[in-house]
Subunit: 615 residues, 2 copies
């Protein structure tokens, strides 16, 4: 993008324009005071102010002092909670630290009277207990491990502010008291001294407003950093982290925060706020002056505005997932590329409605797939086959996967075959879930062909597909010719016999002949590309013809033609085709009429298909 | 569906199968005890057990005792909170009742020491204060109003269990104490006696498990009952109700509930639980035995299983909204239906890339529309026109609407025109937001034509569109004929002059003529249907021909042809067309060749379009 003109800079975006206005609106707010319980924190400039949004796909919008370093403080509590869960699992962690909001202030000791367990991991007592659960591993100390994991969240190597750490350690008498109280109740299973130093170091990790937004986006992205693609936390524990942030993240303002802002969040006395809109984005705010509850005063106001102005509240409108039913049609409206002799074609037209195609889209979860089950069961008495087309499906969660398998089972009990197509990206999960390979089709075309073949087998009998060579007069293109004309043409045309697998035509060849297929079958296939196998676009059987378009417009061949069943073709070359004008004008007229009819027929079919796709 | 066979009953659905298993799994659980603080409640059968899910579109899955009546009790608190918000607005309500979880049990008095305001509306003190805020209106008493509103949630007329009401009233000493305490702090502004009776009556409203699920679905559906379509609560306050349910809905188990189940919910000592997955569904559970915190013991277990098995946790995977970018292409890949003379067509092929079409889909909210802004700004230097196609867009929230308007403004400053098409359902909101009528197009076709015309105007000059009559030899179909043949045909063909607005062809007419347009222009339009105006599918100008397909295959006309600019057509009737075989075979061959070429050209174009739509 180095050639892009200046106006392309992101500052041009209405979103950055909005953020600049928001910064200006709240920059004058003088409420709150910089934390001074340790001398180092009191040095922060109260005018520092930054706002940053990081999207789930890693795009960053930032205004103000978004690159200025400050200490993470209590925001670290949310992230270390995830590490403890990974190290010990939910049951162990829950037994030692609750998840209930206490209604008390951030530095309250708040231990449950019976067990001594801290109410939740977002108060100091809970966070110290959690810190004690983080196991040193792989040659890393506890502190090194915490620093490495938080760095993964931020997508860069973070460091500890040693001055703040020392200051916290020297003045952390209350936290030491909490540590020993936790030891007393056996919440900590050994002496707290080391753990407390780890805890003080964890709080003194330096971050920027931008880091916080990216950390938030990492949580929004199921634990994977959207910029580095590194996994910062096991996705199985992301909902635990977000849940405690939702109920306990903003000290004794948490209830009102969820009510007004509606985002899982965590604040720190360093002046930072990290907020997450799950599945969508992360927000980082930096402004040191704190309100009575210990939250960044400007940060609260900015987040209230952001939530209202951008409709980010968890329970705002627009959170309904898109229905996964995209389109449905049946086998009388669409058909596979396999052209059938007209007697079979008629049978398919009459029975094609027994094939039901359901096109799905978006994210398949319980709520979006549930209506598909309803539709399929409603259609069941009228169908023999149900094809789920997954081309527009982006993700399938475990629940929807199970529902697909169960729907197949239920339909099978009702005598229906259910298959999926266009679901290559899900092949692995389908295999693990036990969906037979034979019920997975590369695309709708091959799935339709399978169903059509099955239908024809039932109606016509086992020999439905027997290919028999045809005489010239059975070729559609020659059907108006009389015996004399046929005999004459027979003498003039070339013959080409080709075994299975042979390429009759290569894409790019000059379009210089018309082929009448009198035995076997061939497939028209798009040229392969680096990322796609050659897609079938047509199948011809004996009695049909191909190659006429090149003869008419002189353009090179656009596709390959490959022999499926050993084929015999009669060939009308361009010189022969053109000489007919003067030599046999009557015959030429008959040929052109059939040709025009065929083109006209195919054009109507293609136009109908365009209309079907346009919906 | 009365003819549907028995196996179509919903019990066949894998979802009901699952719910039956879930019911069986937990039916044996003997934990907890039926509430007995008032004698009437103690009469409940501890074995009663029902599970019901109601989807946002009103489909009901139910197993067990889902039609058995019981009293709503504390679940009413969530719903009356919405009524108070409607009556007085957020600021007033928040000043009297907080939204902070107290960490205390359900019957704790929990008033804030400074103000006497109850911590939140889900504890008794808060609910009584909220009840006092509900204003009698329209001749309804407070109790009648509450009953009417809860009936709207349930979609049926609810009634009060008078025995339970009397029992509650006779034994409600603690609540009376709370009422007077609230009066003491001026949280209630008059004597509590009446309010308390309303409160006791509200708790004694009879509901079923099914009602609870539908009430939940109503909240999931932004306050509109999905069965009756009645508005039960102003959508502006739905997020407030869901927020307090999230943080305070399950007494002092609320934190752990959100952590484990992850759904806004409210329980009642009658044994009911109402849970909501916003935008998706409502859940109702009924099982009278209560655990230590006063929540239905089986209900908690069932909801934990439901949340895990169906991945319903608010922060589970699959909550990311689908990207709204569906497809993007430019005016060199697609073009309007307006056929252009070849000199203009060439110019459009060379410059069509300056028209950028962006197809959107799903729900437009901040996160889904934000990438569209990025794309549009990135494309800006290479384009003159941006068309946002809204055909697959389901909803546009206020934020996205504003962003659309701002993007148009930003692009306009960069010298680009931005327009929307296929957004008929949004016409009203666009108008209110100030989007000019002239920038809204009914469909992509007309939007493309507008851009093409603008491009041609810039390249060719103001006279680009001047229509000039053509001679017969300038008609593409006759371009191979020599002067003698043209003169002969001129004498044989009919002529038809038609003023603007005339129907040259009606859909259903026999296809018995081919038209050569020598002056003016015509539009091919699909027949109107009851719910759709006739859609334009083609435009022809002088020099072009139409109607050939009917002549070739004998099928009736599939569309209307309407004159746009006063037209002169030369007409080749079927008898003339057929007589050429013997009278002028050479001429016929030349005609058929051009005809085949044209059909072949259109077929290639149509096939390409099918390929573009298949992606």
């Amino acid at each position: 993008m180095s050639l892009a003109p200046a106006y392309l800079s992101p500052s041009n975006s209405p979103i950055e324009q909005y953020l600049r206005q928001l910064l200006a609106k709240h920059a004058g707010l003088e409420e709150g005071a910089v934390a001074d319980y340790i001398p180092e924190l009191a040095k922060a400039d109260p005018r520092s102010f930054g706002i940053c949004i990081a999207t789930r796909d890693g795009h960053i919008y930032e205004v103000g002092d978004t690159r200025q370093a400050f200490t993470i403080q209590s925001i670290s509590k949310a992230l270390t909670y995830g590490i403890a869960l990974e190290d010990h699992g939910e049951d162990f962690v829950l037994a030692k630290v609750g998840v209930e909001p206490s209604g008390d202030a951030f530095n309250a000791i708040s231990l449950k009277p019976e067990s001594g367990a801290p109410f939740n991991p977002m108060i100091n007592a809970g966070a110290i207990a959690i810190c004690g659960q983080i196991s040193p591993a792989d040659g890393q100390t506890r502190s090194e491990k915490i620093l490495a994991r938080l760095s993964a969240y931020a997508g860069r190597t973070l460091t500890v502010d040693e001055a703040v750490y020392l200051s916290e350690s020297q003045t952390g008498h209350r936290n030491r008291a909490i540590g020993w109280m936790l030891r007393n109740f056996d919440i900590l299973d050994h002496e707290p001294t080391d753990i407390l130093e780890s805890y003080f170091r964890q709080c003194a990790i330096q971050v920027t407003c931008r880091d916080l937004a990216i950390m938030g986006a990492t949580l929004a992205n199921q634990g994977r950093n959207p910029l580095t693609r590194e996994r910062a936390v096991d996705p199985a524990y992301v909902h635990n982290v977000l849940s405690v942030m939702s109920t306990c993240g903003m000290y004794d303002y948490s209830g009102e925060w969820l009510y007004r802002v509606g985002l899982p969040a965590k604040s720190g006395v360093g002046g930072g706020i990290l907020a997450v809109l799950p599945g969508q984005l992360g927000i980082g705010i930096y402004s040191p002056p704190l309100d009575r509850q210990g939250n960044s005063a400007r940060g609260i106001k900015v987040c209230e505005d952001l939530s209202r102005d951008l409709a980010l509240h968890l329970f705002a409108n627009g959170t309904a997932p898109q229905p996964s039913l995209r389109l449905t049609y049946d086998g009388s409206q669409v058909s596979s590329c396999r052209r059938r002799p007209s007697r079979l074609q008629q049978k398919l037209r009459a029975t094609g409605h027994r094939i039901r195609v359901i096109e799905l889209q978006g994210e398949l979860i319980f709520s979006t797939f549930e209506p598909v089950i309803r539709l399929a069961l409603k259609q069941a008495p009228y169908c023999d086959f149900v094809i789920l087309n997954l081309r527009y499906v982006m993700t399938i969660d475990e629940v929807a996967l199970k529902m697909i398998i169960e729907l197949k089972q239920t339909l099978s009990e009702l005598g229906l075959q259910m298959m999926v197509c266009d679901g290559e990206q899900f092949a692995k999960v389908f295999q693990e879930a036990g969906l037979e390979q034979s019920m997975q089709f590369a695309n709708e075309d091959t799935a339709l062909e399978h169903c059509e073949n099955e239908l024809l087998k039932r109606i016509v009998g086992p020999d439905w597909n027997k290919l028999t060579p045809v005489s010239l007069k059975d070729c559609f293109l020659l059907s108006e010719l009389d015996a004399e004309e046929l005999a004459w043409l027979d003498g003039e045309m070339g013959t080409r016999e080709s075994p299975q697998g042979d390429y009759l035509i290569h894409a790019g060849d000059p379009g210089d002949s018309l082929y009448l297929l009198v035995a076997g079958s061939v497939e028209v296939r798009l040229p392969e590309t680096s990322n796609q196998a050659g897609k079938r676009i047509d199948v011809f059987e004996a009695g049909m013809s191909f190659g006429e378009m090149g003869l008419l417009d002189g353009l090179p061949r656009s596709a390959n033609v490959v022999v499926l069943d050993d084929a015999v073709c009669r060939v009308i070359s361009r010189p022969l085709f053109e000489s007919l004008d003067s030599v046999r004008p009557g015959l030429k007229i008959k040929l052109l009429k059939r040709l025009s009819y065929l083109l006209s027929y195919n054009l109507r079919k293609s136009n109908d298909e365009v209309a079907a796709y346009r919906g």
